[in-house]
Amino acid sequence: MPSITGASVVDHVRDPQGDGTPQGDRASTGRLGDRLFGGTAKGAGVLVIALVTLTAVFLLSQALPALSKDGANFLTSTEWDVSGSHPRFGIANLLWVTVASSVIAMIIAVPVGVCVALFVTEYSPPWLSAPAAGLIDLLAAVPSIIYGIWGAFVFGPHITGLQSLISKLFGWLPFFDNDTGGVSSSGTIFFIGIVLSIMVLPIVTALSREVFAQTPVTHKEGALALGATKWEMIRTSVLPFGKPGVISASMLGLGRALGETVAVLIILSSLASDTKWSWSVFNGGETFASKIANNAAEFDSPQKSGAFIAAGLVLFILTFVVNAIARVVIERRKAFVE
């Protein structure tokens, strides 16, 4: 069963039976058919590399002219005015909203996801284990636009009570400040963080569960034989063994949260351009993805689309780095296991 994250532990094990595949080219006979077929396969692989490379090249080539005309500091400015002959735009606001909402999502999704993974692998009765995993995977199958309309029209109205409670208790922290009066709306960074956490939960769960299930039985039985309770056994053998997998899973989830577009677009209320800066998560705003999607209709000149493509490039780099970290962590674990 392919995992919904696309990255599976099985992917990184060369051959599950332990006996080597007949080594590629020695098995081939150099016939025309072999060279054609092998060449096509190689070509497909190269095409995949080319797709990612071309993405970077095209985004960069469209972003650079727009960036060179930018009158403001692209990284630190909070302005966004791309029309006219003196465009001024910067990503500080977008970066803050993107990171803040994703961090809230991870704070909720990682602990819950790990617990669900432990439930599936260790706690659930055997008959429930597979259906439970399937149900959680179904969360990943729900399209993001449906999370969007459900969040905005159904779930959202119930969240304002919790928001005002948090702001009453922790309002002295700048993050939970209610200076903009945002707690009474559901279009906040806080709320989209909650919705994003539901969306990334299946990703965190799927990979964690796969790693937990691979904990060597000897480790678990060793812990139990030493008198550990079930929870102590999990804490001392399953969790340490699965830690790289959990980190990797969290990174994949983070990548998804950073790039989520439509749910954010529908739920998060965008702010007027002259709104003053606030650290509060009870505030609206726009993420990289929702900003681009919100303004897709405006792409009428290379200058305008270039500015949005520059924002897209930053998002691409962010998710690239996050996914690369996820991959490196799981690769190192593989070296450790073998």
Binding site: P2, T5, G6, D11, D15, P16, Q17, G20, T21, P22, S28, D34, F37, G38, T40, A41, K42, A44, G45, V48, I49, L54, T55, F58, L59, V112, C115, V116, L118, Y123, L135, I136, L139, A141, V142, P143, S144, I145, I146, I149, V154, L201, G227, T229, K230, W231, E232, G255, G259, E260, I292, A293, P302, S305, F308, I309, G312, F316, T319, N323
Partner: protein, 309 residues
């Protein structure tokens, strides 16, 4: 109880887990409580995770079922129907979604399957590592970035219009990694004895792959395709950038606008009139139905798989 007591207790306590030999096998209370607490937390986390799924499905079904049960929903388009009027259907959007998915699959499946074959059967060394790494990166690319790339290439660089085919190109990027990963996983499970037997009979490598390995892994590939389709059909971001909505039936991927279920939801959700709100939820239900069916079909095929892990 002092710390030293607790330690000695926990050292001895476990010799007998039943706790009958007093003084020698007693599990300390705090450890037992923590153990039970962990069990409760795990169950709670699982039930908490199910809550949104049940809530979403309940909402979409109860609000959308009315229109979906009407036959005209499946046969009519929204042509000449304003948001004040009741009636019309989603045939234009359903057809658009299916057509785009089909064209996307036609492009993504060969590339994905061949890439997986390369990774499992041929790939050694640095190129294979690079391909595998790039597949992971492609898995994580946000759909909006894929859409921007196609926009930068298709519209800005080549000067074409925003059409259905451009959406398909963006969706191909999102579908390829799903297919590569599931096919790869399946190919790795094909027993080497099959390959060796084929080689021993003098069958060339390419024929071995095409006639022995691929058929054995066939169900896994189908599963990958179905799950990939389920993923791309719900994608909305590329449609917002590259595929504007229209209320009419359209079949031309290279000219004019084409409706899809996600853009139909997106167009109706901003309306405040009841007929449009009903249509929003009915199209959401239709989309979920299509995607869940594909998902279930994928899982069923996976279960009847020939290759057993």
């Amino acid at each position: 109880m002092t710390a030293a007591d607790a330690t000695s207790e926990s050292n001895r306590g476990s010799l007998s887990r039943s706790g009958r030999d007093s003084g020698f096998s007693h599990k300390s209370r705090s450890r037992e409580v923590r153990n039970q607490l962990a069990r409760v937390v795990m169950w709670a986390a699982f039930l908490l995770a199910l809550l949104p799924l049940a809530w979403i499905l309940w909402t979409v079904i109860t609000r959308g079922i009315g229109l979906v049960l009407e036959p005209t929903w499946w046969t009519n388009s929204q042509r000449d129907i304003t948001s004040r009027m009741v009636g019309g259907g989603a045939a234009h959007a359903i057809r658009g979604t299916l057509l785009m998915a089909l064209v996307t699959a036609l492009m993504a499946v060969p590339v994905g399957v061949m890439t997986a074959i390369y990774l499992v059967e041929y790939g050694r060394g640095r190129l294979a590592k690079a391909v595998s790494f790039m597949v992971d990166i492609l898995t994580g690319i946000p759909s909006i970035v894929a859409a921007l790339f196609i926009y930068a290439a298709w519209v800005t660089t080549f000067g074409f219009q925003r059409v259905g085919f451009a959406v398909c190109l963006a969706l191909v990027m999102l579908m390829i990694p799903v297919i590569v990963r599931s096919t790869e996983e399946m190919l790795k499970l094909v027993p080497n004895e099959l390959r060796e037997a084929s080689y021993a009979l003098g069958v060339p490598k390419w024929k071995t792959i095409a006639r022995v390995v691929l058929p054995t892994a066939f169900s896994g590939i189908i599963t990958g395709i179905l799950l990939g389709l389920a993923r791309i059909m719900g994608e909305t971001a590329p449609l917002l950038i590259l595929g504007p909505y229209t209320a009419n039936l359209a079949t031309n991927l290279f000219g004019g606008f084409m409706a899809t279920l996600p853009t139909m939801i997106n167009t109706n959700r901003v309306e405040s009139l009841q007929p449009a709100i009903d249509r929003t939820w009915a199209s959401a239900l239709t989309l979920i139905l299509v995607i869940l069916l594909l998902n279930l079909a994928g899982r069923l095929v996976a279960r009847t798989s020939k290759v057993q892990s």
